[in-house]
């Protein structure tokens, strides 16, 4: 019995020590999260160590596969800055009370497409025929948000649809098999596969006319932002310089491609669809009064609200801070 108690006490003390050890850490390096296979001009600055030089600290880059994982790592204190986190994971994190801040816009890109099977003959003109059909959607992602926005713009009642939660590759397969009538897809390879058998329900122009777009954000932990505001601004500044220096020359693309882990043409195609807004654009268009960042975050928050709707107070806007952009 005595041994047992001793063991229990030792285990409890051990656990506390582990928790303490993770709390104390050196502040002489900055940890940045990024996505592989998501090509951005600042990867040139990343490879050339411009960030390290400009910020005067070691910048460690860690690649992630989902934005939710980025949030988790930031909450655990392992990541200070998440570059190009999706808006959806950022908003859900804020709704869960995570101490994060949006400080910049990384990439603006066309909203994810929903592909309708070709033989159904449904386009944006007769979109109401989609009612009662089966749709593959990766729930709680930007593709989900884009789906709901597009259906609202086309005046289609989503409650009549059977919505199947499928990852993009699975959704593309199901679309080809005909087990779903429409698949909402993100990611280059899956979108290409879905494009073989389906057509986007809204064209690029229709989407931008309806004001449906997506963007990835630069988010930081609140702790890091209050303690090292200079590092945050420098990070954004270097990113701005890298974006300004981007001419999409073959040499530049090759450099980005090798860092992003993709081949030349895929990188080229992917980056052709990206817009990297300048600081001026960001401050006027996204972060000003009634900026797009707050509007998009709020409307996304309303779509992905937690199970009990009544408690949603729309607090996402308060986690948006454009003051680090100079």
């Amino acid at each position: 019995m005595k041994k047992l108690i001793k063991g229990a006490v030792a285990a409890a003390v051990g656990l506390q020590c582990v928790a303490m050890a993770s709390a104390v850490q050196a502040a002489d390096s900055v940890n940045v999260a990024f996505f592989l296979e998501w090509a951005t001009p600042n990867q040139i600055a990343k490879v050339d160590k411009v960030y390290d030089e400009a910020m005067g600290v070691d910048v460690n880059w860690t690649d992630f596969s989902t934005g939710v994982a980025m949030t988790e790592a930031m909450l655990a204190g392992d990541i200070d800055i998440a570059y190009s986190q999706g808006l959806a994971p950022f908003v859900t994190a804020i709704q869960q009370g995570a101490p994060l801040k949006m400080v910049g816009i990384a990439v603006v890109y066309e909203a994810n497409d929903c592909f309708v099977k070709n033989d159904l003959g449904i386009s944006s003109a007769n979109a109401s025929e989609l009612e009662g059909k089966t749709v593959a959607v990766p729930l709680n992602t930007m593709a989900d948000f884009s789906f709901r926005k597009q259906m609202a713009a086309l005046d289609v009642d989503t409650s009549t649809m059977t919505i199947v939660d499928q990852a993009p590759p699975d959704g593309a397969v199901s679309l080809a098999d005909g087990s779903v009538d429409m698949a909402c897809i993100f990611g280059g390879a899956s979108a290409k596969a879905a494009g073989e058998v389906g057509t986007p329900i809204m064209s690029s122009k229709e989407k931008s006319d309806a004001g449906i777009g997506s963007f990835d954000v630069v988010s930081v932990t609140e702790k890091f932002a209050t303690e090292n505001p200079d590092l945050v601004s420098t990070f954004l500044e270097v990113t701005e310089e890298a974006n300004a220096a981007w001419k999409a020359t073959p040499e530049q693309i090759r450099k980005v491609a090798s860092d992003a882990g993709m081949d030349f043409t895929t990188t080229q195609n992917q980056m052709a669809g990206f817009v990297f807004p300048s600081v001026e654009e960001q401050t006027t268009k996204f972060f000003g009064n009634n900026g797009e960042a707050a509007a998009a975050a709020e409307s996304l928050g309303a779509v992905f609200v937690k199970t009990n709707i009544s408690n949603y107070k729309g607090s996402v806007g308060r986690a948006i801070d454009g003051s680090f952009l100079q």
Binding site: G56, T92, G97, E222, T226, D230, T307, I309, A319
Partner: protein, 642 residues
């Protein structure tokens, strides 16, 4: 009723924790007594009476629940309902002071100024060493080196308190005094302070989406809140202080114009592209280091010692003022702390990924409510309820529509009046596709039922097909050798590896998910039946044979009963594995089911929901296991008695 329970979950938890503690202690005492009695029974008494031991199960469950309550901060919330709110107020002070702390050796080991000086000096040395000789003229080179030297002397001016501006010295002194005022305020205590009505109206800890209310609910919290407001102003004043004495300003202006001159020279320079790039990048890196120095964030270390002392003693006072709270924090809030974000305070630590048992139950209650309109269920489907199942839907399921196409006759068209003339074939099609009303039967419905249905059907097929095959493999050389490679080849493959194939073969309906589960169950059933059958003693078979039994009778009356213990163990194992595979199966194309809920919850890090699904799966697994145990007791009462 539900809301009342939800609002008082902390009080309910308090009663529960006390009951659990009592049952934990009682079960140990009772179990200890029983063990001593049993020790005697085993030697002298009836061995049947030595069976059982449910009190140890009580002991285990209450220990588990107590650990859960403890690490999820459930105990803290139950017995110290205002503790988190008070810790939140302290977190506000932390947040307010964090810019000050960041420049003092409090949140790191060194003064921020020290770090900056060391880092920038190192980089200056690096840049000096990397000066490209070829692209710059001799005069430009000496100019660049002069700029680097100027940067060095700027560092030494900033680090020396002799040069310091009187305004900055006074400013730091004011901050020191204001911090010690704060300390006095804290030491004076919180008598006479009372929380506002608005603060008291905040929901209790954890009842709302906002876990912990921001406004202070206690007198002590009021004191900390007031201190944090003042601390915020102090750190704003601190951030405004810039150590830029006149000498430094002069040097900065001079150096800036020298750098600008170099930049102009770069613009005017005509050479190869590489040379221009090399010149630009070098000047830029010199300028970058210089620009990190010219904002006046480097202070002489001695000038900050006063502020540092004041902050340290302020934190001492904060700790002293905690009183009993520090005990609660240390003992009852293990592995984490309360963090203040922009709009709310949240728990950070084990309690974040381990929700409190009462919260999980509340979440379960909300999901289990069949009233979909008022927020029950999940994504438009109840958890477990019933509905009217139209018999026509069953007909639709069993009769393929293609059958009607093969019948003679034509489908109708619309006539000139714009009406649809239904032919016999149309009516048959309506019947086959379930477009008629044939009455309805009550049927279970909901996520749990959908998952259970998949598991049960998969198990049924697994048993019906797997057991006979296993027995034949156990007794027949042909069956054994023919099927052995096939089964052994697919058995070790994890079910998830099949998933992409199954999606294309079966589509998104239930059959694909059931097939995935069936494959898991089938292999286990075959192997257990085969082991059971081949383990039959030869003497028993021969005895039956000599008594005149036919082959069929031997299989039915000798081999099958002999294999039954193994088969039923196989059932127990495969049910467990089926539940384990369910999450993967429902990831394929999720519309309903427990695994679907879990997959969605994962994408939004909804830990309460994740735990609800984990518990539902665990409890369902346990329920099935108990059913099989009961079946074992009925079917093979001789087990373990031979």
């Amino acid at each position: 009723m539900f809301n009342w329970i939800s609002d008082h979950r902390a009080d309910i938890a308090a009663i529960l924790i006390l009951a659990l503690a009592a049952s934990f202690i009682w079960s140990i005492i009772y179990g200890y007594k029983q063990s001593r009695r049993l020790a005697k029974e085993q030697v002298f008494g009836d061995p049947e009476r030595t069976l059982g031991g449910w009190y140890w199960a009580v002991c285990g469950v209450s220990a588990l629940m107590l650990v859960w309550f403890y690490y999820s901060w459930g105990m803290a919330r139950a017995f110290f309902p205002t503790a988190a709110n008070e810790v939140c107020q302290i977190a506000k002070i932390d947040e307010a002071l964090s810019p000050v702390n960041a420049s003092l050796p409090i949140s790191s080991r060194y003064f921020k100024s020290t770090t900056l000086v060391v880092r920038n000096s190192q980089q200056l040395a690096q840049v000096e060493g990397a000066l490209p000789q070829a692209v710059f003229s001799a005069s430009e080179r000496s100019e660049l080196l002069a700029i680097i030297d100027a940067s060095r002397s700027l560092i030494s001016i900033l680090s020396n308190e002799q040069y310091q501006d009187k305004a900055v010295v006074d400013g730091l002194d004011v901050i020191r005094l204001r911090l010690s005022d704060l300390k006095t305020q804290l030491d004076a205590g919180y008598a006479g302070l009372a929380p506002t009505a608005e603060a008291l109206a905040q929901p209790r800890w954890g009842v709302d989406d906002t876990e912990i209310g921001l406004l202070p609910k206690t007198a002590r919290g009021m004191m900390y809140d007031a201190v944090s407001a003042e601390a915020k102003q102090i750190s704003d004043a601190f951030l405004k202080l810039r150590n830029l004495p006149d000498d430094a300003k002069q040097l900065i202006d001079q150096t800036k114009s020298r750098i600008d001159a170099l930049k102009q020279a770069n613009k005017a320079f005509s050479g190869s592209e590489d040379e221009v790039a090399a010149r630009n990048s070098y000047v830029k890196s010199v300028e970058r280091i210089f620009r990190r120095l010219d904002d006046g964030t480097i202070f002489p270390s001695t000038s900050l010692t006063g502020v540092n002392q004041a902050v340290i003693s302020l934190y001492d006072s904060i700790a002293d003022a905690k009183g009993g709270l520090s005990f609660v924090e240390a003992i009852f809030m293990p592995g984490g702390t309360v963090v203040k974000s922009k709009t709310l305070c949240v728990e950070q630590g084990s309690s974040r990924w381990l929700p409190k048992p009462t919260d999980v139950v509340a979440k379960f209650g909300r999901l289990a409510s069949p009233d979909l309109e008022s927020g029950g269920g999940f994504k438009g489907t109840t958890l477990l309820w019933w509905k009217w199942l139209e018999i026509a839907d069953l007909v639709d399921f069993f009769i393929p529509d293609g059958l009607v196409d093969m019948l003679p006759g034509q489908y109708g068209t619309h006539n000139t009046d714009g009406e649809f003339d239904r032919t016999v074939k149309d009516r048959l099609l309506a019947f086959a596709s379930g477009d008629v009303y044939l009455g309805a039967i009550p049927m279970l419905d909901g996520h749990i039922w959908d998952s259970m249905f998949r598991v049960i059907i998969a198990m049924m097929f697994g048993i019906v097909l797997g057991v006979p095959l296993g027995i034949f493999m156990g007794v027949s050389r042909f069956f054994k050798s023919f099927f052995d490679p096939l089964i052994e080849l697919y058995r070790p493959v994890p079910p998830l590896a099949w998933a992409p194939l199954i999606l294309t073969i079966f589509g998104i309906q239930d059959d694909g998910k059931i097939f995935l589960l069936f494959m898991v169950a089938f292999a286990i059933m075959v192997i257990s039946a085969r082991t059971g059958a081949s383990g039959t003693q030869l003497s028993k078979i021969r005895a039956a044979h000599s008594l005149g039994a036919t082959q069929r009778q031997i299989v039915r009356y000798v081999i099958l009963p002999n294999a039954l213990p193994e088969i039923l163990t196989g059932v127990r194992i495969s049910i467990g594995v089926c539940w384990g595979t369910l999450v993967a199966a429902e990831m394929l194309a999720g519309t309903t089911g427990i695994g679907f809920i879990e997959n969605v919850a994962r994408t939004v890090s909804d830990y309460e929901l994740i735990w609800v699904t984990i518990l539902i799966m665990g409890l369902l697994g346990l329920f099935f296991d108990l059913v099989v145990r009961k079946a074992i007791a009925i079917l093979i009462p001789w087990r373990g008695k031979g």
